[in-house]
């Protein structure tokens, strides 16, 4: 059956997406604010389409949700959603990064929503799998982030956004995106896009359309996809042992990204010089 679907381009290509040189990608590890960024961009670039969960997949397509045939037929330049770890074919990349402690907690709840784990699944056990990269097919959080940063940071065609900065000043960060894409972006257009992509509004849309969207259809409806839209949930939601494990695994990378750690780092497993050395000592 799969062979027939592949033959007619009716499969979802995922990583095997046919990439065009003028494609623009919104890339992040899962649960890092990709959907929010997608709505922000959709509302900035295509406000007349009234982006919501029923049409977001065709406005800013997801290669995991659309067929190869549809993806190939979309008007160009395409703005594409992706969770893929480094892919050299992506020429223009907006990379969204989020504190891995919040990412782990968010993915824990998302896996409950998808009934991949039960409600009583221990958070620590989930985080142990998370640091080994076993909770998603997109490599580990650190491999995904470091792979993109080490190859592309500081080069043209790469914009790094932090989810936390987007929350602190959404308009400012969206203006960076507009500038990166060379889009006309007056204050009015920017603030309209921010307003139409607010957590409250997206949450309302989800309530009405959850069964019509590929990522929420066939999942538990009592757990929302759009969760808190906040930074720092890990401080109350993650056990100390899980926090220590995450910080010990990715301490230097977290520091470089500006995420302060709370536990003493284990010098044996964390080489503080590795990433800063290639990226320069400071994040711009």
């Amino acid at each position: 059956m799969m062979g027939v679907r592949v033959a007619f381009g009716l499969h979802q290509p995922g990583r095997n997406l046919r990439v065009f040189p003028d494609d623009i990608f919104i890339v992040s590890f899962p649960k890092s604010g990709n959907t929010w960024t997608r709505f922000l961009l959709a509302n900035l670039v295509y406000p007349e389409a009234n982006p919501d969960f029923t049409n977001i997949n065709s406005i800013i397509p997801d290669p995991e949700a659309l067929t190869k045939r549809r993806l190939n037929a979309l008007p160009r330049p395409r703005i594409i959603k992706s969770h893929q770890y480094f892919d050299p074919r992506y020429n223009k990349v907006i990379y969204v990064v989020r504190d891995p402690r919040d990412v782990a907690l968010s993915q824990y709840h998302f896996h409950r929503k998808r009934t991949l784990i039960g409600d009583d699944y221990p958070v620590l056990r989930f985080v142990e799998r998370f640091v080994r990269g076993e909770t998603s097919p997109y490599a580990s959080w650190g491999e995904n982030v470091a792979g993109w940063l080490a190859t592309r940071y500081g080069r043209s065609g790469f914009l790094l956004l932090r989810y936390e900065d987007m929350i602190a000043d959404t308009g400012r960060e969206l203006a960076k995106v507009a500038d990166f894409l060379g889009l006309p972006a007056d204050a009015q257009r920017l603030s309209a896009a921010v307003r139409r992509s607010s957590a409250d509004r997206i949450r309302e849309l989800e309530k009405m359309q959850a069964r019509k969207w590929s990522s929420t259809r066939n999942t538990r409806q009592d757990i929302p996809f759009v969760r808190t839209g906040k930074a720092g949930n890990w401080q109350s939601g993650l056990p100390a042992e899980a926090v220590a494990l995450l910080e010990n695994t990715w301490g230097p990378l977290m520091h470089w990204l500006g995420y302060e750690t709370t536990h003493e780092q284990n010098a044996e497993t964390a080489d503080a010089r590795l990433l800063p050395a290639i990226l320069g000592h400071h994040r711009a």
Partner: protein, 298 residues
């Protein structure tokens, strides 16, 4: 209209090239490098270490340490496990155990220039400066490798600290084959007796490999139907770029990959003007090569 038919037919007939579609097993060990970085030499060293009773040649190397870019998925599935597989792929998270070979990109460029002429990718008169511009920008190469810098950085910065990752520098392997081969043997978990190491070194020597290439070049998958006047096994030396690479080419390569070259211990010759290199050389002096890549971390 028929999008993937060619692929499906090839796959069904076992005529596909596995490449990035390779089915990976958790007990696989991969020999990864950018092309023209000493991968074939390392393949011979690994094969000769693992099979002291079966000296590696270009006739048996595809079964001893098969090539993901030359063999079909079906062929590779038949290889007895644990498999030792050659690859040029940029970071693939499914590869658990990785031996990564890195070589000075200035020498890689020169070697790649000859290789691309051997393969008919470029004509003989193709300008070296134009070629280096292609090299730096990732043209003339498979999308599965990325640029030199992308390939190296995508592996070293994701896996550099892992106990399942062994970084070898081609230059160190040439300068002191014995010590680097000993690291390789420990990583592979084979007996690292002096006799076994010397045997493997001898059977993988430049002279022997050059001789074997001549014997088998019409049969080996990577040399058959290619120009015979340019050898696959070239000089086996480090530093040829210093005499053979024009200054603008050196400058282009160093400008493209300055931080990672410094970190890997490749001394730069062209100032970048920003002063950033001077700040970063501190990293190099601390002997970074031996530190994160030692297979001793927990």
């Amino acid at each position: 209209m028929i999008y993937g038919l060619k692929k499906i037919v090839k796959y069904t007939l076992g005529k596909d090239i596995a490449g990035r579609y390779l089915s990976v097993y958790p007990d696989d060990t991969f020999l990864v490098s950018y092309p023209r970085s000493g991968n074939t030499w390392t393949r011979f060293l690994v094969a000769n270490l693992l099979h002291p009773d079966q000296p590696a040649t270009f006739d048996n190397i595809e079964s001893l340490v098969p090539d993901t870019e030359a063999q079909s998925n079906r062929t590779l599935k038949r290889v007895p496990r644990p498999r030792f597989i050659k690859s040029h792929e940029y970071f693939d998270h499914r590869y658990r155990r990785v031996i990564y070979i890195v070589r000075d990109p200035r020498d890689v460029a020169l070697s790649y220039y000859d290789f691309d002429r051997k393969y008919g990718h470029i004509p003989d008169g193709y300008g070296l400066e134009r070629f280096v511009d292609d090299f730096v920008n990732g043209r003339l190469t498979s999308v599965d490798w990325g640029t030199w810098g992308e390939n190296v950085a995508s592996w070293v910065y994701t896996r550099g600290q892992s106990k399942d990752f062994l970084l070898l520098r081609y230059e160190d392997m040439i300068a002191d084959t014995g010590s680097q081969l000993a690291r390789l043997a420990v990583f592979l978990g084979v007996d690292s007796s002096r006799e076994r190491l010397e045997n493997a070194t001898e059977r993988s020597s430049l002279q022997r490999m050059q001789r074997l290439e001549k014997v088998s070049e019409d049969k080996w998958v990577s040399t058959r139907n290619r120009r015979k006047d340019i050898p696959f096994v070239r000089t086996g030396r480090a530093g040829a770029w210093q005499a053979a690479l024009p200054l603008p080419c050196i400058a282009a390569i160093e400008a493209a990959w300055r931080p990672i070259m410094i970190q890997l211990g490749y001394v730069l010759t062209v100032a970048d003007g920003s002063g950033a290199a001077q700040n970063r050389t501190a990293v190099q002096k601390e002997g970074l090569i031996s530190h994160p890549m030692q297979a001793s971390s927990t």
